[in-house]
Symmetry: C2
Subunit: 333 residues, 2 copies
DNA sequence: TTGTAAGCGTTATCAG
DNA sequence: CTGATAACGCTTACAA
């Protein structure tokens, strides 16, 4: 090997007795796919590459090709199992394009720039921002550093950025209205951060539309972690005037509500209706199964294909994909 | 900008009226930190860089420096919340070294090579293989492609690879013995894949040591997904001769057992003792809290520091870190 | 104190 | 069909 480190193309070339250029041609294919393939030398090169364990050097390739063949999924932990679905489907599609998928966790929004260096320093050709992340972050630096950007957001409008609309506000209003129509009078909301976000506003919309006021005592923070949620819901149930329904900003919070109800001997859905958000697979299997707002099916194919379409041609007009959430009825409400 | 794309160092140099080399010194620091800093030009360069939004190009930097300033955490979904802990701690330490952290999900072992391209093609300087992943995968290619490799494994021995020992087999034997000593006679095992792995063998060890035989009817697959686990445990409880204890290879399976017990009106721990694996934070909050085999505290600092020590100096002798699992007693067993 | 120039490993262009 | 050769953007001896 050239130094002490990894096998380079030059090592392969020497071993095969051909030029570096030819090796590159054989191993990576030629941009203008003119001639099919030169059979005799080809085997020599491939044999040498295999024998030396040639693996290529992405830094060099990226520098030359101006492509990293990497896409990132940017998310804020903790995340539900749906991220696994997205990752899985992304990997399949990415593989078909010769790409790999990496995950970029953003733990603290105040240090997001640090986490996003992977994106902003040009490490990836495309990135998908999941959850509401794109609403909290400044994407301008990221957009200038990648060929394609895709964001789950109901509000974002940014030139050259494709967006996926969940219409969360509408969907949560629908869920809340369903509870109102079912005769529930004290509907609590279990929130992620307490911010006046889309999901919460949907809850408010529905109450207002029914001529009701928001009872601040029924709006609680705790949907982010199951253990917190259990404590919060127990507290709600122990109060003198407990809720008869709970809408949670996550399924995690929904499951916690089911558990807290068991702890307190409260019957679901008779005494307490519970609706979660996310429509995770687990919702079908909980006891009772959890009614949940979310995508009906976890099919992200169209979205990921759109990302790769933009990687191929960044001048494409920005797309707006509709993946509206719906209310998936189960036994808990 | 030089072409149509991102701002390059040359753009900054032209704007600041200095050479490319000077800009590099100012923006990336000089390797041999001889002179402190040339104040007047420095500001000019930084001003120009800021104004043009210079972000650097990792491909070029990596190629030249032979460092990507990236470390990967390689894992097989689904994973518990402890991965978030590891990620969080890794990010903090990585940031202190000027590094970023990415996640590399390996979904299917038969396509692992595809997922690991990020590693084997030299994209990262170091990688941590979590779970039993390193036992299922061939790490030789990965080792040749990074400066540092760290693996959670109780068995792996590989030159130049640091390992973390959980001693899972011993820990699961301890848990099972605890149940035996408590008078449990029909102890079931909820397995991940059904393979004769460490954790299962610990269970077997304990039974044998107590002079008992393994009852194949009590060994079931289902610990990987909560919904599967619930069904499997319900089935066990419905059988004519149900278990009076369950050891699960995951906390996920443990929670499912608790839930199935509620579904079937079986009292925990009186009629059924349940022990999980992983000692996730949620175990403290479940109803009842779940006794669990796992790390007592989720502190990965030493491990991550060791990774960076090896990135700094790959000739370091391989280390073996002991992070033995223990039985964390709670109400479920 | 700042600039020149030689690469890092690969791919694309263009002769041979 | 194959091989020089010049970039890609950056870092770093070394020279000025």
């Amino acid at each position: 090997m050239s130094r002490e480190g990894r096998t380079t193309l030059r090592d392969v070339a020497e071993a095969a007795g051909v030029s570096v250029a030819t090796c590159s041609y054989v191993l990576s294919g030629r941009a203008d796919r003119t001639t099919p393939l030169p059979e005799p030398t080809r085997r020599r090169v491939e044999e040498a590459a295999g024998r030396l364990g040639y693996k290529g050097n992405t830094a060099a390739r990226s520098l030359r090709r101006q492509r990293s063949e990497l896409v990132a999924i940017v998310y804020a932990p903790p995340v539900g199992p749906w991220l696994d679905h997205l990752t899985a489907q992304s990997e399949d599609i990415a593989a078909a394009h010769g790409y790999s998928v990496i995950g970029v966790p953003v733990r603290r929004l105040d240090r997001a720039a640090q986490s996003l260096r992977v994106i902003t320093r040009g490490h990836v050709d495309g990135a998908i921002f999941v959850g509401g992340l794109s609403d909290e972050l400044d994407l301008t630096a990221a957009r200038r550093s990648t060929r394609a950007l895709m964001a789950f957001s109901d509000t974002l409008e940014m030139p050259g950025v494709d967006v996926v609309r969940n219409n969360a506000r509408t969907a949560l209003a629908e869920a809340t209205t369903y509870l109102i129509d079912a005769g529930r009078t004290r509907i609590a909301f279990l929130s992620h951060t307490g911010a006046q976000e889309d999901r919460y506003l949907g809850y408010v919309d529905a109450l207002r539309r029914a001529g009701r006021e928001v009872d601040p005592g029924l709006v609680r923070i705790g949907a982010a972690a199951r253990e917190d949620a259990v404590l919060v819901v127990r507290e709600l149930l122990d109060a003198p005037n407990p809720p008869d329904a709970i809408v949670s900003e996550s399924d995690r919070g929904g499951f916690a509500a089911l558990q807290a109800a068991v702890d307190r001997g409260v019957k679901v859905p008779d005494d307490l209706a519970v609706i979660g958000t996310g429509n995770t697979r687990e919702a079908s299997y909980s006891q009772p199964p959890l009614t949940s707002v979310g995508m009906h099916q976890l099919d992200f194919t169209e979205m990921v294909e759109a990302l790769f379409a933009r990687i191929d041609d960044p001048t494409l007009p920005a797309r707006e994909l509709n993946m509206s959430w719906v209310l998936n009825h189960r036994a808990s409400a």
